[in-house]
Amino acid sequence: MKNRIVNIIVLANLLVLILLVIFVPHLMIEPGKLMDPHMDLTDDCFACHTPFIGSRSSKCIACHKVEDIGLITTKGVAIAKEKKNMAFHQELLEDDCVACHSDHKGVQSFRPIGQFSHQLIARDTQELCDSCHSNPGDTLHQKIKGNCAECHSTESWTPATLKHDEYFRFDRDHDAACDTCHIKDDYSSYTCYGCHEHSRANIRGEHREEGIRDYENCVECHRSGDEDEAKYIWRNKLRGTRDQAGDQRYYRYEHDDDDDD
């Protein structure tokens, strides 16, 4: 008898809670307030959620016609200027609204349901990064037009995947701040004269000793602080030049000293 009463109490509580979840879910399980334009849907969760399925894009599209997004509001008011340079939503390969949008502020702030995937964009359009992304405006990016994929991936904007080692490997003696070599953060050029160790006079003297005249593009041979490696690259370069394109450069290496000095 006692057990039966306990069971009835438990079931009654369960039933009441389930009814509350169905009829006043915004009070029971709402994961954060809705975005302002959707506030009037606060107590009508099934306007967006299909029971046991979730939020289907078809429910969003019922109000937000894809062909109108960015052009006309759901109330029929024309949008003066779309924020993007291209008709973004109209170019998507698939209507997957919740891949980017989560209407509950709590979810969006901390745990988005999904993440925007660039795979939703047509391949040709994927290369038009600046249709959606603004140029950061620093000295490096000001001089660059397109070709973002050289450093950035569609997975994340930062960190940029520039492989500095392909140009110059840092070591103990070259643990410098960027603007030591890239003056005023201009990454389209560099100088090795920014360091007292590499004064013009020193570099000129050392290279002339070896009979080298063409030394302005330092990283052509100096891929790191290793001098032997630079010599090796230089010698190989000479051999390659002589083998492939005659001995003009090699000749300069051999005879320039006599001509100049």
């Binding site: 306990v6 438990v10 509580n13 369960l14 809670l17 389930i18 979840v21 169905i22 879910p25 009070l27 029971m28 399980i29 709402e30 994961p31 954060g32 969760c45 959620h49 029971p51 046991f52 399925i53 979730g54 939020s55 919740v98 509950h104 709590g106 979810v107 901390f110 745990r111 349901i113 999904g114």
Partner: protein, 192 residues
């Protein structure tokens, strides 16, 4: 004497609870570091399954099932509830969104503290009845049989009965809130 009581009784009790909280924080931090917070979202499922498995002991105690040694099942009950609670805690994270899951979480924590209290009381009860062992031996009970009799003696001691009168409703509250939370997820979750 007082120091002995604290170190022998209170410390292990506290340690187990603190370990649970610290393990949760570490696991949560690791998932964040590895950018795998999505794992936490799904940890609720194995967590609940482990907790459900732990009820085998409760069923054995109420004679709903007859397999398994009670002592082993009790140990399993303790381990499974601790591990399940760890997963559910990581699953809950520190994000306060909705009232129902938080009520379920609070009920689970109260349940765990209650369970640990029961563990302590059972331990104490066992000490009281150690002397009974000799009595059982006199009666000719040895080995597994004596062990089983001793175990049931301990769990049916008066203090245990009183504790169980509190632990059972707490568990029911947790079950009701947890079930409703699971139902709400099934109803509203974005299944893809």
């Amino acid at each position: 004497m007082e120091r002995s009581l604290i170190s022998k009784k209170v410390m292990p009790f506290l340690l187990m609870f603190v370990t649970l909280i610290v393990a949760t924080a570490i696991l949560d931090a690791v998932l964040h570091l590895l950018d795998m917070t999505w794992v936490g979202r799904w940890l609720g499922i194995p967590g609940v399954l482990l907790i459900m498995l732990s009820f085998l002991y409760s069923m054995r105690k109420r004679k709903k099932i007859s397999f398994g040694k009670p002592k082993t099942l009790l140990k399993l009950h303790e381990v499974l509830t601790w591990s399940g609670a760890l997963m559910v805690l990581v699953h809950a994270g520190i994000h306060v969104y909705a009232i129902l899951p938080w009520l379920a979480l609070v009920a689970m924590m109260v349940n765990i503290i209650s369970g640990m209290t029961g563990q302590y009381l059972l331990d104490r009860s066992r000490q009281y009845i150690v002397e009974k062992k000799a009595h059982h031996a006199e009666k000719g009970l040895v080995g597994d049989e004596a062990e089983r009799a001793l175990f049931w003696d301990a769990v049916t001691l008066d203090t245990m009965k009183k504790w169980r009168a509190v632990h059972f409703p707490i568990t029911l509250i947790f079950v009701v809130l947890g079930t409703t939370h699971i139902f709400s997820i099934l109803l509203y979750w974005q299944w893809k």
